[in-house]
Every structure is written in C-alpha cells, then in structure tokens.
Symmetry: C2
Subunit: 114 residues, 2 copies
C-alpha cells in the first residue's frame, strides 16, 4: 500500500496550449506502481479552462470544490461539488471554471492517458 | 458524457459478511458504460469497518471526509480527508473508521472489481 498525504504533491501548472489557469497534482500514477488507473487532482482558477481536445480514453470525474461546466459538442453541462461525471472516449470536451473561487476535481484515467 | 448529480445515488448498506456500518454508492460504474474503471463512494459510520479481504485488483482511494485506518499485514496506516491511497492487488486489507463522524472515501477499481 501507499499513502499520499494531503499537500505532499502540490498541484503544478499545466503549460499545454489552450490551458488557462490550470494546475494538476498526480495523486496516484504509474510512478506509484498503480496497475491500471491514474488519479489526478485538477485545480482551475476563476476564469480558467482546460484545452479543447479529445482522446481515446475516458475521464471519470469527482468534483471536490467550486462550480464548473463540462463543454462537449455544442453543449454546456454545469456541475458543482459532490457531482460525478463520465467523459467518454473520443468525446471532444473541456472544463471551464464558472465560479468565483477555484474549481477542483479528481480526474481518473487509464494509465496510458496520464 | 454523463452527469451524476450529488445525492442522486444515495449510499446503500453493504451486507457482505464482515462489513459493519458500511454503505456504498456507485457513482460511475459499468451500468454507465464506463469503459475501464468504476468509482464508488464508501461511507463508514463511527465504529464501522469494511471486511478483511483480498482480491487481484487494486484500489485507488481519495478520502473525502473523516479519519480512518487502512489495515494491511500487521500494520495500521492512519489517514484523513484529502489523503490519497493505493491498495495493491492481492494485498489483504480493510478500512476502519477511527473518528467520531462518518468516514467517506472514493474507491476506484477496474470494472471487474466492482
């Protein structure tokens, strides 16, 4: 077993093109010998968003704090703390902070998507 | 995409032998067409614990609320809200509530472990 205490892996800025005000912490990843899944914690500042993109793996999401939108093909789905979401493989999408404070969520992917 | 709003799937009692005061909500599972992973939310009441057991898949855990211990071979690892944990395949383990309030955590497993 492995314990990753709160705060041990502070979120780091994401510099991918199209990302604004996004940080990510790899809470459990391949470096931890996780066999199949990686759990990342995203923090998006007010006014920020992840890049518009698609990939052939899914996202399993749990919203920890704040208010946001998942944007898919012409559609905005609003969410807030305590909601869970599934983004399907090959679905174009991004996440947008819609609140006044940080938006924080967990995003679980297969290891090959991390 | 699929949104599972907070509270839509209230945690249900777990009746497996050895479980005390444990409830689980399937936030994202095979019924949602999740391709590889299931995300479950466990709620363990004060004094409660999950069964002592092992299986050939991993747990990727994020602690939402409360204080608990992950018990593995002769060892107790204390954790609290904001911590992440990895339980490896074939590792005997259980979770014990060590606080005065509910212990809540997310537990991600491969679909075959759900």
């Amino acid at each position: 077993m492995k314990l990753v205490p709160k705060g041990e892996r502070p979120p780091q800025p994401v510099s991918i093109e199209g990302a604004r005000g996004v940080k990510v912490a790899k809470l459990v990843a391949s470096a931890d010998d996780s066999p199949t899944a990686a759990m990342r914690q995203f923090v998006i500042e007010p006014g920020g968003n992840t890049p518009w993109h698609a990939h052939d793996w899914e996202h399993v999401i749990y919203v920890l704090e704040g208010k946001g939108a998942l944007v898919t093909d012409g559609r905005e789905t609003l969410f807030s703390a305590g909601d869970a979401l599934l983004v399907e493989p090959d679905e174009e999408h991004n996440f947008v902070n819609k609140g006044d404070g940080d938006l924080e969520f967990l995003c679980v992917v297969p290891l090959r998507g991390d």
